[in-house]
């Protein structure tokens, strides 16, 4: 039996060795994928980004507020302010047109008299408070107050920009305007109280600080690599479903499967041979991805994957994820009659599993119903197990539930394939 399994493994490796397309799918595409995706997504994780987003600023105010907005934006790590196009000042119409055509992602229009009206409004409010507190000359006749209309800072977004970017920009502009208002209120109070020499503390009283988890007394700061390498490695591991299912379908169409059915060898031995071969391939894929993330990434400006102390546990997770993928591939190859059925179905189902498993969108950001569905995806079990090891620094015992689920998935899918095959076998 052992010799039969060994010969099956040798045969599978020889078949793969001579299948250039299959080798590219198995080894080259995952590397290209992980490098490309990590490079693209890196900026969203980076604390400091090299590429700043250009935004248009239309200043109708010409006052202190617009000046502060301009200065704060210029000081920002993320934006460069553009106030002129072709050496001409930007009007609201020009800004709108450029943004809606996608030439710029954002335009900010500061309304006329914003600074003066803000100052007037604050003064009116402060004056009311001061009078109510009896801090002014009570005999003085109060002048009727002018009505000041609310002001609106207009934002134009390129329709193609993502909601997360819009929300982030709106939130930071909102914060900036709040700070300007607060400063203005403080200044007016000082003026009204005639205490212009008093220096109010205008720094934020409440601040926040992110506490980074520490492993071996070293901060483990999540970055694009720590997130992307496990996610896309898992995606690549699951893509093994395509060559594996094609391999099984080919055996059926070439007649070798029929020959094997007449040989004194059980289908279980054939499946064990395939499982061993493709598990080795999964591990090679995994170690290639890790090697690229550790050694190549720093030379192309990406953070290096921090796998120190996690090598064994991540290998275990990769192996069990591989089992789950192999089980799925065996089932698909057994049920499908043609390559035209197995290849597109395999590719599409892996993409669906990745999507619901949280490879693209984190599970916590999904609607409630999708969160439940996500938890039933083997890709999610694998991904969470990788994150547990790499980012949450858990022990082997703590990943046992997730890797057990992955192994159960392999056992169930393989059993269904064996049962299906037995039902189809004649005698």
């Amino acid at each position: 039996m052992v010799y039969k399994i060994w010969m099956s493994v040798v045969k599978e490796f020889l078949l793969l060795k001579r299948d250039l397309g299959g080798l590219i799918i198995l080894f080259v595409m995952p590397l290209v994928l992980v490098i490309a995706v990590t490079l693209i997504q890196d900026s969203t994780f980076k604390a400091v980004t090299d590429s700043k987003i250009q935004i248009l600023l239309v200043d109708k105010d010409k006052g202190s507020v617009s000046k502060t907005v301009f200065e704060n934006l210029e000081k920002s790590k993320y934006f460069t302010v553009v106030t002129q196009i072709d050496n001409k000042p930007i009007t609201e119409e020009i800004a709108k047109e450029n943004v809606y055509k996608g030439k710029f992602q954002l335009a900010i229009v500061i309304p006329e008299n914003l600074s003066s009206d803000l100052q007037a409004k604050v003064e009116q409010n402060v004056e009311k408070i001061v009078i109510n507190l009896g801090l002014t000359d009570s005999t003085a006749t109060a002048e009727p107050q002018r009505v000041i209309k609310e002001k609106e800072v207009k934002l134009y977004f390129d329709p193609a920009v993502q909601m997360s970017f819009k929300n982030a920009v709106m939130s930071s502009i909102d914060k900036m305007i709040s700070q300007i208002e607060t400063k203005s209120i403080y200044a007016t109070f000082q003026k009204q109280l005639g205490e212009e020499t008093i220096d109010f503390e205008q720094k934020n009283f409440i601040t926040f600080k992110e506490i980074i988890p520490r492993i071996n007394n070293k901060e483990v700061r999540p970055n694009s690599v720590q997130h992307n390498v496990p996610a896309w490695t898992l995606f690549a591991i699951f893509f093994i479903v395509i060559p594996l299912s094609i391999n099984i379908v080919k055996e059926k169409s070439q007649g070798t499967f029929v020959r094997l059915r007449t040989n004194p060898v059980s289908n279980l031995i054939v499946i064990i041979g395939k499982t061993i071969t493709y598990s080795i391939i999964c591990m090679i894929q995994f170690y290639m991805m890790v090697a690229v993330a550790v050694f190549l990434f720093p030379s192309i400006g990406l953070p290096s994957l921090n796998i120190e102390g996690h090598f064994f546990l991540t290998s275990v997770v990769a192996l069990f994820s591989g089992f789950a993928a192999i089980g799925f591939g065996i089932l698909l190859g057994t049920v499908a009659s043609t390559q035209e059925q197995s290849a597109p179905f395999g590719a599409t189902s892996v993409i669906i599993l990745a999507a619901i498993g949280g490879v693209w969108v984190p599970v916590f950001a999904m609607p409630t119903i999708m969160q439940y569905i996500a938890k039933s995806s083997p890709m999610n079990w694998g991904l969470e197990a990788f994150y547990d090891v790499l980012l949450r620094n858990v022990s082997f015992l703590e990943i046992i539930p997730r890797i057990t689920l992955l192994f159960l998935f392999f056992i169930i899918t393989t059993s269904i394939a064996l049962f299906y095959d037995k039902k189809k076998r004649a005698v």
Binding site: S8, K11, R18, Q254, G255, T262, P264, V265, A426
Partner: protein
């Protein structure tokens, strides 16, 4: 409607038994049943006193099967294919390697042993296909159209090899459309049509028993008629 109906056969050890019949007669279905690939809806058969229901793995060890299609891995070499399929019959090590070399040599393929099967001609593929089914020296060999689509030289090599195998004690059960080949090759013949056996005897006895028949082809036409048998 059944592919086979009321078929009763007794094939003795050491025979070369030919199953002949027009397209759709049920030859491949019958041979597939005997090889354990198709389950009969009713009825019973034994091979060397064993039935599939209870002794499936024992039967599979003593039979060899050469399917009609080239049941080989095209990107593996002839040697790699044969080492793999030989190992599935329990052969291993130097014994397996020697048997592969011997069979390749006997069928004139030794110098192509390390070429990928996909580069072979139809005749060469047929010969490798044959070797893959006989490496373990089976007691009973099933052949489904073993010479279809091959040139005269390959056909002669295959038939000669099978005769030698039969001389060594292998019982051969074979289907074919080549009536002249069957007449020369088989010791016993059954003519099958519409799922039933119309006649069964030695080739010479069948010719003698049919009025005005000069060869097996005349017997065949006499029993099955001249109508075309195309069908889906």
């Amino acid at each position: 409607m059944y592919s086979l109906n009321n078929v009763s056969l007794n094939i003795n050890e050491g025979q070369i038994f030919g199953l002949l019949g027009p397209n759709g007669a049920g030859k491949t279905t019958l041979i597939s049943m005997l090889c354990g690939l198709v389950k009969p809806t009713s009825g019973h058969f034994t091979i060397d006193g064993l039935d599939y229901q209870h002794h499936s793995s024992k039967i599979k060890k003593i039979i060899g099967v050469v399917p009609q299609e080239y049941a080989l891995y095209p990107t593996l070499t002839a040697r790699e294919n044969l080492l793999y399929f030989g190992s599935m019959y329990g052969l291993k090590g130097s014994d397996l390697k020697e048997k592969v070399i011997e069979a390749l040599d006997l069928l004139g393929l030794l110098k192509f042993a390390d070429k990928q099967v996909q580069t072979f001609s139809g005749g060469m593929k047929r010969r490798v296909n044959l070797i893959a089914g006989i490496l373990h020296k089976p007691k009973v060999l099933f052949l489904d159209e073993p010479t279809v689509g091959v040139d005269v030289h390959s056909k002669t090599a295959i038939i000669d090899y099978l005769k030698a195998l039969n001389q060594d004690g292998t019982t051969i059960i074979y289907t074919s459309h080549h009536l002249a080949e069957a007449e020369d090759f088989c010791t016993q013949i059954a003519i099958l049509d519409q799922g039933q056996i119309y006649a069964q005897d030695t080739p010479s006895a069948l010719i003698e028993a049919t009025k005005e028949a000069r060869n097996l082809e005349d017997v065949f036409i006499s029993l099955t008629g001249k109508a075309l048998r195309d069908g889906l």
